[in-house]
């Protein structure tokens, strides 16, 4: 009887642990995002090299590329989870190229401002 109970209970314990960790993961993403928005000054000066300076185009393009790239990859990952994939989805070569170019433009802009 004890053996039968353990055979039923152990998979249930594993399922409970799995669900608990997934809930925790989503909760962490939500709470960290919420706290960053609530902090008020967390994003101050994100698009400028100095406080009070205007929006710089190289920073804006990196922000757009990074957020878009992250959303695209997260969406493909959600699809993979729903299909029961056992492997992480691959990042398209085009996305790597776009992000690499975006990073290079941002760093070039940063260097040019230091030396101008």
């Amino acid at each position: 009887m004890v053996v039968a109970f353990a055979d039923v209970a152990l998979p249930e314990v594993a399922r409970f642990a799995r669900v608990g960790l997934e809930i925790w993961l989503f909760g962490l993403a939500l709470i960290v995002g919420w706290r960053l928005l609530v902090e008020g000054d967390a994003f101050r000066g994100l698009l400028a090299s100095r406080i009070g300076a205007g929006i710089e185009p190289d920073r804006l393009q990196l922000l757009v590329a990074s957020v878009s790239g992250a959303i695209v990859y997260a969406a493909s990952a959600v699809q993979a989870v729903q299909q029961g994939a056992s492997r992480m989805p691959d990042v398209p070569d085009a996305l790597i190229t776009v992000l690499a170019t975006s990073q290079a433009i941002y760093l070039a802009g940063k260097i040019s401002r230091r030396h101008s």
């Binding site: 004890v2 152990l10 709470i31 994100l46 990074s66 993979a80 790597i96 990073q103 760093l107």
Partner: protein, 131 residues
Amino acid sequence: METQTWHGLAMIIGVGITVVILGLAAVVLWKIFDGTIKLDDLISEDGKASLSRFQFLIFTFVVAGVFLLLSIESGTFVDLPNNVLVLLGLSSGSYVISKGIAENASRNRDRDPEATDPRDAPRPRTRRTRS
């Protein structure tokens, strides 16, 4: 009888570890929620938000989250495609280079204390020749 004992022991240990880990995770989450664990410097440097930190945070969070989720669902560690490692390398490399540029600028300011910004540093004197 011995098998029954091991099964029972495995169950007790499994339940105990699960409760401890989830309990600690819940405590950390609560402390972030009520502000005890501050996230001020997560994307800020010297009172200003850093874009290189922000993009590094986003990609690390997304990749690590996907890895954890898929590993939990499949019950084993999943394979990491090469392009995912390239993506993480791009993001972290950009952050490191950006920090290097900022450090270099800070060192230039230290060498010339009167200059508040490298762009404000005094221009070198040019020698005038008498005609």
